[in-house]
């Protein structure tokens, strides 16, 4: 493998590399600040608190949120989704989701189902409006929550979030969006999209480190969502009961402040780039789709256009398993992710269960040459596969 350039096409799992400012912010925090935020009144504690606050403010700006204290931090999008799903559903409640969800949604929902919650999985339809209609038809008297991912982590297709948000608001049902794959890559405005609760990961399109993520929670929603964790918040210390106000209600224990320092730099980077990230990722997706489409034996799963999707592309090569494709790519220095991507529901929808797919996910820092090298490698593997 010596001499082979590493081409990282697994940005849908964790974006890498990060903007330089992210590395600097984390190093700087560890060396110069280091303290616990919100626990003491001293200079370094306040400075650490500012790091967390600045991160909330940057995220609030990105998501169109007026009040930065509505942003709550968690370890990742999975924890964020668990806070909401486990914190607001009771036996007898009904919840609606789609056939394109990640296990970070499906597993907490299936666990809730075992405890007496009714779960409706609306089959995924390629045409977005059909799917929103399916969500609307599934709403009943006892429907408490609609949870949808903004985009599939397997096929990259966007779900009709704005349409579903309108329906949820009209019918008075809480709308939770899993933006793990889209925060930072796609424009999200929680007001315009009628999103009540937004779960995001920090280590993907927001360019923060692993171990960061969080929630936006609309004003008033917190009275309906129990916290997952109880404990010290640095506030209301005389009380042995959890505070009811945000963000403290959901942020017990010393936070990952060094991670937030990195996340803050990452979100500021995203804000500075404006729409350039989405435009670039669309170019990369278009180049991959066009290239893959012309290789005999390659099948791309999900929609074939660069519109209405993010730069996450799943494919198979006839006669080869996804793992064989992935190992073949790695021989060319190309790192991708084969298998089921923690999303058996999405693979069932796509007809790729249980074998899965090979997934390529370029990022903002992927070059045109990287894409061409990946396509050339797929051509060689496909030719070899067909020949062998």
């Amino acid at each position: 493998m010596t001499g082979v350039k590493t081409i990282y096409l697994d940005n849908a799992a964790t974006s890498w590399p990060k903007p330089e400012a992210v590395y600097r912010a984390m190093d700087d925090f560890m060396r110069r600040t280091g303290a616990s935020p919100g626990r003491s009144g001293h200079r370094l504690s306040i400075e650490a608190g500012r790091v967390a606050y600045d991160t909330r403010e940057a995220l609030a700006m990105l998501f169109g949120v007026r009040d930065p204290t509505r942003i709550v931090f968690t370890a990742n999008a999975t924890e964020a989704l668990n806070v909401v799903i486990r914190g607001m559903l009771h036996p007898g409640d009904h919840v609606i989701t789609s056939g394109m969800e990640h296990n970070s949604v499906m597993r907490p929902l299936r666990a809730a189902e075992q405890a007496g919650v009714r779960v409706t999985v609306v089959p995924y339809q390629p045409a977005g409006t059909l799917q929103a209609g399916g969500v609307e038809r599934a709403i009943g008297e006892d429907t408490r929550l609609i949870v949808l991912s903004h985009a599939s982590n397997v096929a990259g297709n966007l779900l009709p979030i704005a349409e579903a948000g309108l329906i949820a608001r009209k019918r008075g049902v809480t709308f939770l969006v899993d933006a793990a794959q889209t925060a930072g890559c796609c424009a999200i405005n929680v007001e315009a999209m009628n999103i009540d609760v937004l779960a995001f990961s920090g280590h993907k399109g927001l360019y923060g480190p692993q171990g960061t993520g969080g929630l936006y929670i609309r004003q008033g929603m917190e009275s309906r969502i129990r916290p997952l964790k109880h404990g010290g918040t640095g506030s209301r210390s005389e009380s042995e009961y959890q505070p009811e106000f945000l963000p403290d209600k959901y942020e017990s224990g010393t936070p990952n402040t060094v991670g937030l320092a990195g996340l803050c730099a990452g979100v500021r980077f995203v804000l500075e780039q404006g729409g350039a990230i989405q435009r670039r990722e669309r170019e990369l997706a278009a180049a991959l789709l066009q290239g893959l489409g012309g290789i005999p034996g390659v099948v791309v799963h999900g929609q074939n256009s660069a519109e209405g999707r993010i730069a996450v592309i799943s494919f198979n090569i006839s006669g080869l398993t996804p793992s064989e494709v992935s190992m073949g790519l790695e021989e060319h220095g190309i790192l991708c992710r084969p298998g089921l991507h923690c999303s058996p529901a999405a693979h069932r929808t796509l007809g790729t269960f249980p074998q899965g797919t090979a997934r390529l996910s370029p990022g903002y820092f992927t070059s045109d040459e990287d894409i061409e090298a990946a396509l050339q490698a797929v051509r060689e593997i496909a030719a070899r596969g067909a020949g062998g």
Binding site: G38, G49, E57, S235
Partner: protein, 75 residues
């Protein structure tokens, strides 16, 4: 009676205190985050100190920006 030279704004959380601090820095009103004085009790360990004559402007800005506060006290 001796007049207080400073006042403090008490908040529910440090996030609110830091939000307010940032806002005031943009307006030129001198403020400083300090630990909550012992004689006061607050949900949050720090509070925002301001010069007493600025109190009307401080109240006005907090009100306009809809930042929830626990109270304002002279110290």
């Amino acid at each position: 009676m001796e007049r207080a030279q400073h006042g403090v704004v008490l908040f529910y959380s440090m996030s609110h205190a830091l939000w307010a601090e940032k806002l005031f820095k943009g307006t030129g009103i001198p403020v400083k985050l300090i630990p909550v004085p012992r004689q006061l009790s607050s949900d949050c360990g720090i509070c925002l100190r301001f010069d007493q004559p600025d109190e009307p402007r401080v109240r006005d800005i907090l009100d306009r920006k809809q930042i929830e506060i626990q109270g304002i006290h002279p110290i």
